[in-house]
C-alpha cells in the first residue's frame, strides 16, 4: 500500500471519507479504502451494505455526498464516468443488443476515436483472450450467460483501463460455470496486470479470487485485509458470521464452554470429534450430544449440544472417520489456537447477521 509520501501508482484507487445518502437513507457511511495498483480487490457484503454504491462512485455513476475519490492519486470525485480511466463489467452485462460481439467490444475504442483497422484488431484480440473470437459476428442474444459474461469482460478490457470494476460478475451463472470463470478471471487479471475491484455477496468468491477484501455492512467497512487474515482473524461478530460460519460464544456461555470471558469465535472445521484417542495437548475437551447430522458430499456438518449451547462442526469426508448418528454421545476437542476473540460483544448492534446465533 502506498504511504502518504509516495505518489501512488497509476491504477490505484483511494477513497477518503466517502459518504453517500439517498434522501434520508445513508447508503455509505464514511468509507476509507486504499486499493493498490494491480490488486485484485473484493468488496464483500450482504445486499444493501453499500458495496455496489461504492463501486458506482468509483465508476462515476454516483457522486459521493461527502469525501473524495482518487484514481492514480488524482482527485476524480466530480469527473463524469466517460472521462475516467475505469470500466465496468455490469451485473446484467449490459451488452448492446443491436451490435455484434465485435461491435460491442469495439465500442470503447470507437468513442475514443481509434481508427477502424486498429479498433478491429484490438477487439479481435480481446475476444480471443476470452476465447470467443470465432463468434465475433454474432449478436448478444445468440449467446449463453457465460459467453455474455466473457464478452462484457472483453469489452471492458479492450480499452485497456487502469482499473476494472466488476459488479457481481458471476452472480448470474450456474455453479459449474462460476467455478470455471473464477479460475479464468484470476488468470486474466494476472495477464493484464491491472487493478480489479469486484463486488460480491458470495464469501467463497471473495475468498478465492481476491488478494485483499473489504467486508461491508450497513454502509461501513467492517474489516479490510487479505482473505486469510479476514477468515482466520475476523475483527468482529459480523465478519466472523458473514465470512464463513462461526460458532460465536459470548459472556456467560464463553465462560462455561471455553472458560474465558469476552466473545469468542470458533470455526466449525476446527472442532474435532475425538474417537477413543486421547485428547491432544493444550486442547479443550467437551462431552456433547449429536442433535443433527447433515451429509453434504465432500463434508459432513454436525450439530452437537454441549450443554449451554449447540455447536456446529464440519469435517471432511476423507474416510476413516467414525460415523456419528443423531443422539450419539461424542467428545469434542479444540485447541486454544482455534479460539479467536471478537472485539464487539453486543449482538443487538448488528442486525441482519447471518451468523449461527448461539443462544443459551
Amino acid at each position: 500500500m502506498a504511504s502518504p509520501t509516495t505518489r501512488p501508482a497509476n491504477g490505484s484507487v483511494t477513497l477518503r471519507g466517502i459518504r453517500k445518502t439517498f434522501a434520508s437513507t445513508v447508503a455509505v457511511d464514511t468509507v476509507n479504502l486504499e486499493i493498490a495498483d494491480g490488486e485484485f480487490f473484493a468488496m464483500l457484503g450482504p445486499s444493501g451494505s453499500g458495496k455496489t454504491t461504492v463501486l458506482r462512485m468509483i465508476a462515476g455513476f454516483e457522486q459521493p455526498t461527502e469525501g473524495t475519490v482518487l484514481l492514480g492519486g488524482v482527485d476524480v470525485t466530480t469527473v463524469p464516468p466517460h472521462r475516467r480511466d475505469v470500466t465496468t463489467v455490469f451485473q446484467d452485462y449490459a451488452l448492446f443488443p443491436h451490435m455484434t460481439l465485435r461491435e460491442n467490444v469495439e465500442y470503447g475504442l470507437r468513442t475514443r476515436g481509434v481508427t477502424r483497422g486498429e479498433r478491429r484488431r484490438r477487439a479481435d484480440e480481446a475476444l480471443a483472450m476470452v476465447r470467443l473470437d470465432h463468434m465475433a459476428a454474432r449478436k448478444p442474444a445468440q449467446l449463453s450467460g457465460g459467453q455474455r459474461q466473457r464478452v462484457a469482460l472483453a469489452r471492458s478490457l479492450a480499452v485497456r483501463p487502469k482499473v476494472l470494476l466488476l459488479d457481481e460478475p458471476l452472480g448470474a451463472l450456474d455453479l459449474k460455470l462460476r467455478e470455471e470463470m473464477q479460475v479464468e478471471l484470476k488468470a486474466i487479471q494476472r495477464d493484464v496486470g491491472i487493478t480489479f475491484v469486484f463486488v460480491t455477496h458470495d464469501q467463497d468468491e471473495a475468498l478465492t479470487l481476491s488478494d485483499r477484501l473489504a467486508v461491508f455492512n450497513n454502509g461501513r467497512v467492517e474489516q479490510v485485509g487479505p482473505a486469510r487474515s479476514v477468515y482466520e482473524e475476523p475483527a468482529n461478530r459480523f465478519v466472523a458470521g458473514f465470512v464463513g460460519t462461526s460458532n460465536i460464544l459470548s459472556d456467560a456461555i464463553a465462560q462455561q464452554v471455553v472458560g474465558r470471558s469476552g466473545t469468542w469465535a470458533v470455526r466449525p472445521e476446527k472442532i474435532a470429534v475425538l474417537g477413543d484417542s486421547p485428547a491432544p495437548a493444550r486442547a479443550t475437551v467437551r462431552e456433547a450430544t449429536v442433535t443433527e447430522v447433515v451429509y453434504a458430499g465432500a463434508s459432513t456438518r454436525v450439530l452437537a449440544d454441549v450443554g449451554p449451547v449447540t455447536l456446529t462442526l464440519t469435517s471432511l469426508n476423507t474416510g476413516g472417520v467414525r460415523d456419528v448418528q443423531r443422539g450419539d454421545r461424542i467428545r469434542l476437542a479444540w485447541t486454544d489456537d482455534a479460539l479467536h476473540q471478537l472485539t464487539d460483544a453486543d449482538p443487538t448492534d448488528r442486525r441482519d447477521t447471518p451468523t449461527e446465533e448461539i443462544t443459551a
Partner: protein, 262 residues
C-alpha cells in the same frame, strides 16, 4: 396449452369466419371499382376500367390526396419530435407532476373528436382570428398524434432502462455519442411504429379535420362530400380501393421493422 381436435377445428373455423367478416366488405369495395353498373348492382353485370380512368383524371381527388399526405407527414413529424421529448422528460428526468402531465398528454386521444374539433375551431377561428387552412389541420392532428408516439417511446424507454446508457458512458461515450449509437438505435422501432401509427391516424381523420380545415379538403373529407353524389360514387370506390392497398404498406413496415430486438 393442448386443445382437443374438435375444439381446435371449431376455433380454426371461427377465426376464418371473423376474418371473412372483417375483410369481405373491402373486397366489395375493390370489386365495385370495376363494376360497370353505376348503381353497383350485384353481382356485377360487367367489368370496366372507366372509373379508374375517371379517378386518375379527377384533379379534386388528387388535390385532396396531396393535402392529406402533407397533413399526415407534418403532423406525424411534429408528433415524433414532441412526443419523444415528452417521453424522455417524463421517463428519464425528475419532473414535477409526472402523473398529471402524462395524463394531459394522453388525453387528446380519448377526447371525442367532435369536442376537440369544436374546441380547436373556437380557438383558431374565434379567439385567434386565424383562417382555417392546412396549417390549422396539422396543429389539430398533432395533438392526438403525439399520444401514440409518446406511448410507444415511453413504453420502450421503460422496458430498456438506463443500463445501456450507463455502459456506454462507462466506455467513454459522451452524451451525444450515447444517444447516436445506443439510445437512438434502441428507439428506432418504437419511433417507426409510433410515426406510422400517427400518420395513419391523421390520414383518415374526419371529425376534427372538418372543424379545422375551412374550405381545404383532405381525402376523407372529399370522399364524404362526394359519397352521396351519384356521379362521383364510382370514383370513390376507386379511391377507397387504392387506399386499402396503400394502408397495407405501413402496417407491413411496422410489423417487419417495428420490433428491433436484435
Amino acid at each position: 396449452m393442448r386443445l382437443s381436435a374438435g375444439l381446435r377445428r371449431f376455433v380454426g373455423g371461427w377465426t376464418i369466419l371473423v376474418l371473412l367478416f372483417l375483410y369481405i366488405p373491402l373486397v366489395f369495395v375493390v370489386l365495385n371499382s370495376f363494376n360497370s353498373s353505376r348503381t353497383f348492382a350485384f353481382p356485377p353485370s360487367g367489368l370496366t376500367l372507366s372509373w379508374w380512368k375517371a379517378a386518375a383524371h379527377n384533379s379534386a381527388a388528387w388535390h385532396a390526396l396531396g393535402a392529406t399526405a402533407i397533413v399526415g407527414v407534418c403532423a406525424a413529424s411534429l408528433a415524433l419530435v414532441l412526443g419523444t421529448c415528452a417521453a424522455f422528460a417524463l421517463q428519464r428526468y425528475p419532473v414535477w407532476g409526472k402523473q398529471p402531465i402524462s395524463l394531459l398528454i394522453t388525453m387528446p386521444i380519448t377526447l371525442p373528436g367532435i369536442v376537440t374539433g369544436i374546441a380547436m375551431n373556437t380557438t383558431f377561428h374565434s379567439v385567434l382570428g386565424w383562417n382555417l387552412t392546412l396549417f390549422t389541420v396539422i396543429i389539430a392532428h398533432t395533438t392526438f398524434c403525439i399520444v401514440v408516439v409518446f406511448n410507444n417511446v415511453q413504453a420502450r424507454l421503460r422496458r430498456t432502462g438506463t443500463n445501456l446508457q450507463e455502459a456506454s458512458s462507462d466506455l467513454g461515450a459522451t452524451a451525444f455519442q450515447t444517444f447516436r449509437w445506443v439510445t437512438f438505435p434502441q428507439l428506432r422501432g418504437a419511433l417507426l411504429a409510433g410515426g406510422l401509427l400517427a400518420f395513419a391516424l391523421s390520414f383518415d381523420e374526419i371529425v376534427v379535420t372538418e372543424f379545422t380545415a375551412g374550405s381545404t379538403r383532405t381525402l376523407p373529407l372529399w370522399i364524404f362530400d362526394n359519397l352521396f353524389r351519384p356521379n362521383q360514387a364510382p370514383v370513390i370506390n376507386v379511391v377507397a380501393a387504392v387506399l386499402t392497398v396503400i394502408a397495407v404498406v405501413p402496417v407491413w413496415i411496422a410489423q417487419r421493422y417495428g420490433d428491433d430486438e436484435a
